[in-house]
Amino acid sequence: MNKIVPVLTVLAVIVVVWYGAAIKMNSQWTYDQAARAGTEVTFGTLVTDTLAQERPKLPAPHQVVAELWDTTVAKKITSKRSLVFHGWITLSATLLGFGIGTLGGVALAVGIVHNKAMDLGVMPWAIASQTIPILAIAPMIIVVLNSMGISGLIPKAIIAAYLSFFPVVVGMVKGLRAPDQMQLDLMKTYNASGAETFWKLRLPSSMPYLFASLKVGVAAALVGTIVAELPSGATRGLGARLLSGSYYGQTIQIWSALFAAAALAAALVIVVGVFERVVLKKMGMAQ
């Protein structure tokens, strides 16, 4: 209860500020219309008009909510205007990319921890890969893959994987190196093999680190997918909704796609968090 109050307060403040900003930003159009028609603008008409425009600069919250309701609940999910449909397109590419990125990231981390050459050779490239802006590299990947006849889900998943593997590599390397000298020496006194040390010590030690990176990774995968949906000329996915909205000045559509993306990101992070709690609890590591 005492947690709800501050959250609601912040929410209320945001909504109030938003309404104020909507009135201010959309007022120009109202004044222009009024000047053309030769009518006076009273405060009442200003408010009702600015909050009900079809293509406002900044849509009012209730407009976005109405659009969200209309495109999720009211529309059949097979419809091209259904956000659930577009959300699913984005989600499927995100999950596939996240899966690839996680597997790749874990595999790279295992290599880096066990192989000196990989430690020196791979890490700088992994870091370099993340310094290239995704906006620059995404169109290139899509064009190259398209020319090879691969389009749709796979190119988007690759870009999602490209963004999500990095936090997994970094977290997993740290996690696999988390055992201290004493724990490693203990394994040595048992004359444990490298594989046994890995399965019985390094891997379980790395679990908390892995889950921390998975949360970052899944959000990164979603960003990657949305970015990949922008330049592809695609008509499906949340990224496509964002882009087509901006082509046609459909600000309400842009904002509702944005909220859908944010909700999706939050849901994904929450799911990973629940998974984390269950696994760590099962391992006896969560108290």
Binding site: M182, D185, L186, T189, Y190, E196, M283, G284
Partner: protein, 258 residues
């Protein structure tokens, strides 16, 4: 003549560090027979841990010879002859107490059906019966330390090496654990190397007390205990006990004065 289990001849160890070489052990000569309880005592940094690690094959001397059962410590380690108890309990938090004790048994490929009985046996030995299903964080520090001793006992290692196992515990718990260690030793007849900072602990437990001094780490005195094998806690008020403790203290002071 009977051959010693552990035989150190002129053992030297110099660590190469970024701030130049550190002479951790110098000219260490020591023979330990089967079934002996040997304590190492000395000020911080005199090389007690380093010597124990050399015996266990976790560190390699840079000079002299060190053999265990006539083999190199490395070879002996590979034959899984050591139960090593570290200064911190170091239990794996994702395993129950029983799971922690099972760890060496799993690694050493003990037959699966034998494992539960072994776990029960060592839990009983360290007085932790009924705690097998608990996780380490559910146990007190002293209980965790006992669990780590049980872990080292589980696979019947011939030599038990303990590095300040009770260093972080209060006096009363320590007394109790000391008694238990002696009982364990009597019951199993293992060769034990034991590092401590406490003079009473060293005298109470040992058949042989090795006094060391720092910079460079070396042995200044080796005291053969004259106490009987049967040792109630009250023995610490006996004249014999006080005499040995006095000699240890003298040894420590002499090492310090140089």
């Amino acid at each position: 003549m009977k051959k010693p289990v552990i035989d150190a001849q002129n053992v030297d160890l110099t660590f190469q560090t970024n701030d130049g070489p550190v002479h951790a052990l110098k000219d260490v000569n020591l023979q330990i027979d089967k079934g002996e309880f040997v304590s190492f005592i000395g000020p911080s940094g005199c090389g007690k841990t380093t010597f124990l690690r050399c015996i266990a094959g976790l560190e390699t001397p840079t000079g002299g010879t060190l053999t265990v059962n006539g083999l190199t410590p490395e070879e002996t380690r590979k034959s899984r002859a050591y139960g090593y108890v570290f200064q911190a309990a170091g239990l794996y938090p994702w395993r129950t107490i029983a799971g922690n004790i099972r760890l060496p048994l799993e690694i050493m490929d003990f037959p699966k059906p034998d494992i539960p009985a072994r776990v029960e046996k060592v839990l009983d030995l360290v007085d932790l019966k009924g705690f097998g299903k608990k996780y380490p964080w559910q146990l007190s520090g002293g209980m965790q330390q006992r669990a780590s001793i049980a872990r080292a006992l589980a696979f019947d290692a011939e030599i038990l090496l303990m590095d300040e196992p009770f260093g972080a515990l209060d006096e009363i718990v320590r007394d109790k654990l000391n008694e238990e260690v002696l009982k364990l030793w009597a019951a199993t007849n293992k060769t034990i190397g034991f590092v401590t900072h406490s003079i009473p602990e060293a005298v109470y437990l040992s058949t042989k007390i090795v006094v060391m001094s720092p910079r460079p780490g070396r042995i200044t005195d080796v005291i053969e205990s004259t106490l009987p094998k049967e040792r109630p806690l009250e023995i610490r008020d006996s004249e014999e006990f006080i005499k040995i403790a006095h000699r240890v203290r003298e040894g420590l002071r002499a090492g310090h004065a140089e």
